[in-house]
């Protein structure tokens, strides 16, 4: 086996993967390394989402591949299959790869002689997902982090104009403006930094940046964020980099199984999964 790992919080993985489901049929690419798992979903040239699941999030993680395995799998199928396991007790779910036919194997054994198992067929993939970055662009980068619930609500409301959504981040006055101008009318939602800095976890902008994004892809970045993220309100971070590349990042807290963890604080270091979206600006706007 190139990978054999045990996960005690299956619901956390289900939540992370559900956050990047914006269509019914989606193929995901799974990359396995000594550092953990990365699951990538892409609408080529428009939107890419990545779920990072570091090895520290597993109860055990044994990696022994010579080169990093990469395989394709149906995202919906992976989520539905994992959901089958998340209802059962608190014992660990074992994931291993590859099976005899290159399947992804899952197995969970309960104390009372019950075993649930799954074999998911994987696909060979030649696609190498593009590596996007919003860093190192010589200063024209703007970053802000707001409470996830507020961001989600704003983007949900912006469905109404039925148009592309412009995001403007300016240093003076400091704040963020989301605006849609469509057939039904215009809607603008302001996040002024000084007046409402309780909403902000971070704000950094040296010069104004403004780009437009297709609504359906912008909405995909928050529509399926799990309730735990909006309740925790850790903040979702948005960065606009060179050429208008937008990065939206959410942190999903993962609680350990109850018998392992008496500490009710879910934000302990290492128990967080990262979900990142990369959005290309709308060329038509």
């Amino acid at each position: 086996m190139e990978l054999r790992c045990v996960l005690d919080n299956v619901q956390g993985l289900v939540d992370s993967l559900s956050a990047v489901r914006w269509k019914k049929q989606q193929d995901a690419i799974c990359e396995v390394s000594e550092h953990g798992l990365v699951i990538i979903v892409e609408e080529w040239g428009c939107l890419q989402a990545r779920v990072y699941y570091r090895k520290e999030l597993f109860v055990s993680y044994e990696y022994s591949a010579e080169s990093r395995p990469r395989f394709g799998v149906s995202l919906g199928l992976l989520v539905d299959t994992l959901s089958t396991f998340s209802s059962t007790g608190t014992t660990g779910l074992e994931l291993s790869y590859p099976g005899s036919d290159m399947q992804l194997l899952l197995k969970l054994t309960d104390a009372d002689n019950t075993c649930i198992y799954a074999e998911i067929r994987t696909k060979v993939t030649d696609t190498v997902p593009k590596e996007y970055s919003v860093d190192g662009d010589g200063g024209r980068r703007a970053v802000f982090a707001v409470k996830s619930a507020a961001l989600k609500e704003a983007i949900d409301d912006l469905e109404w104009p039925g148009s592309s959504i412009s995001i403007t981040i300016s240093p003076d006055p400091a704040g963020v403006i989301l605006r849609g101008e469509g057939h039904h009318g215009d809607l603008q939602i302001d996040f002024p930094y000084d007046a409402h800095n309780e909403l902000f976890a971070a704000f950094q902008c040296q010069s104004e940046v403004s780009y437009s994004y297709k609504y359906k892809f912008l909405r995909a970045t928050t529509a399926n964020v799990p309730n735990s993220v909006t309740k925790d309100n850790r903040g979702s971070k948005l960065t606009i980099g060179a050429g208008g590349l937008l990065k939206v990042q959410h942190l999903i807290s993962l609680r350990q199984a109850q018998q392992h963890n008496m500490d009710p604080n879910p934000t302990q270091q290492g128990r967080v999964s990262y979900v990142e979206f990369y959005l290309m600006p709308d060329e038509e706007a």
Binding site: S74, L77, D80, T81, S83, T84, S87, T88, N113, T114, C115, I116, Y117, A118, E119, I120, R121
Partner: protein, 311 residues
């Protein structure tokens, strides 16, 4: 034909709280089959392309002063809408009257129409009486009644091995999730007391193995064991190869419906494969009060039609 009886309190509770709600989950209407000694509720008794469910009660469990007569050896059968029966029973309970009488009558719904059959429930309280008429089908012919009787007789011909079912609540959660994956469910039972459930499509197989459950009937020989270190699928193959297991495929929606049997609150549930892999059979037992012995006054069986395997 004539039928008249008074419900016992236990009879009302058994039907209103347990069996009628469970049977409603399988279908809207069902057969009611009355004989001199037994009262039977039946689903899909004749054309078993759905879940076939048969709940048989000794008349003394449900009724006092039970009177039945017909030209067909005092056997009467008809169909009725379970929701109407349930509502009538519920409102009779809220009446808290003296006695609840049930009888078969013929009435004209209006002056212009011809008389139609009804099951009438009459509840007499201290100050008022409530009469509820449940419309029923025309009584079944002699031939159709015999078919119902033949179905009941066949159902008592049980598989040679029955294995205790895993916890129904746990199964319901699992099967609800498996329904998202595929439509056909492989069910296998082994003489070692294992139950296997699996849904497979071209892209995924998900299964569950429940081990070391109680076995009724034929069981594995002492000393015969399966490889504990093998995967569940390999363990099942081993048992099948030795002739110590049976495996059939049923519609997962049928299996999910039959798990609603939990509403009858059985004390034990067993599953097995009928001879020639013709049906998947579930047998439920209800203990006599304050004992751990099955109450012979009530029996419940479900039969699920088996799908032909493709490939």
């Amino acid at each position: 034909m004539k039928f008249k009886a008074f419900f016992t309190d236990k009879g009302v509770t058994t039907l209103e709280k347990k069996f009628v709600p469970a049977f409603e989950k399988i279908g809207k209407t069902c057969y009611v089959y009355l004989t001199r000694t037994h009262v039977t509720l039946m689903h899909n008794a004749v054309n078993a392309d759905g879940v076939q469910a048969i709940a048989q009660f000794k008349e003394a469990l449900l009724f006092d002063d039970y009177r039945i007569s017909s030209q067909n050896e005092d056997r009467i059968a008809f169909t009725l809408d379970l929701n109407l029966l349930l509502r009538a029973l519920k409102s009779s309970v809220s009446m808290d009257g003296d006695k609840l009488q049930i009888k078969l009558v013929k009435k004209r719904p209006s002056l212009n129409e011809r008389p139609m059959p009804y099951l009438t429930l009459e509840s007499k309280g201290f100050r008022s009486a409530v009469v509820q008429d449940i419309p029923i089908s025309q009584p079944l012919s002699r031939g159709d009644v015999q078919e119902l009787q033949d179905t009941i007789d066949a159902v008592h011909n049980l598989p040679r091995t029955l294995v205790q079912m895993p916890d129904l609540g746990q199964l319901q959660i699992l099967v609800d999730r498996l329904k998202n994956v595929g439509e056909a469910l492989d069910v296998a039972v082994t003489f070692h007391g294992d139950v296997h459930l699996q849904v497979s499509t071209t892209l995924v197989s998900i299964g569950s193995e429940f081990r070391r459950l109680q076995v009724l009937g034929e069981r594995a020989a002492a000393g015969s064991t399966l490889d504990a270190t093998a995967s569940p699928a390999m363990r099942l193959e081993q048992a099948l190869a030795r002739g110590e297991a049976s495996s059939v495929q049923v519609k997962i929606k049928h299996f999910a419906k039959s798990l609603q049997c939990s509403l009858t609150r059985p004390d034990t549930c067993y599953v097995g494969v009928a001879p020639s892999d013709s049906y998947l059979v579930m047998k439920f037992q209800f203990y006599a009060p304050a004992t751990h012995h099955p109450d012979t006054a009530v029996t419940l069986h479900y039969r699920l039609p088996v799908l032909e395997r493709v490939g």
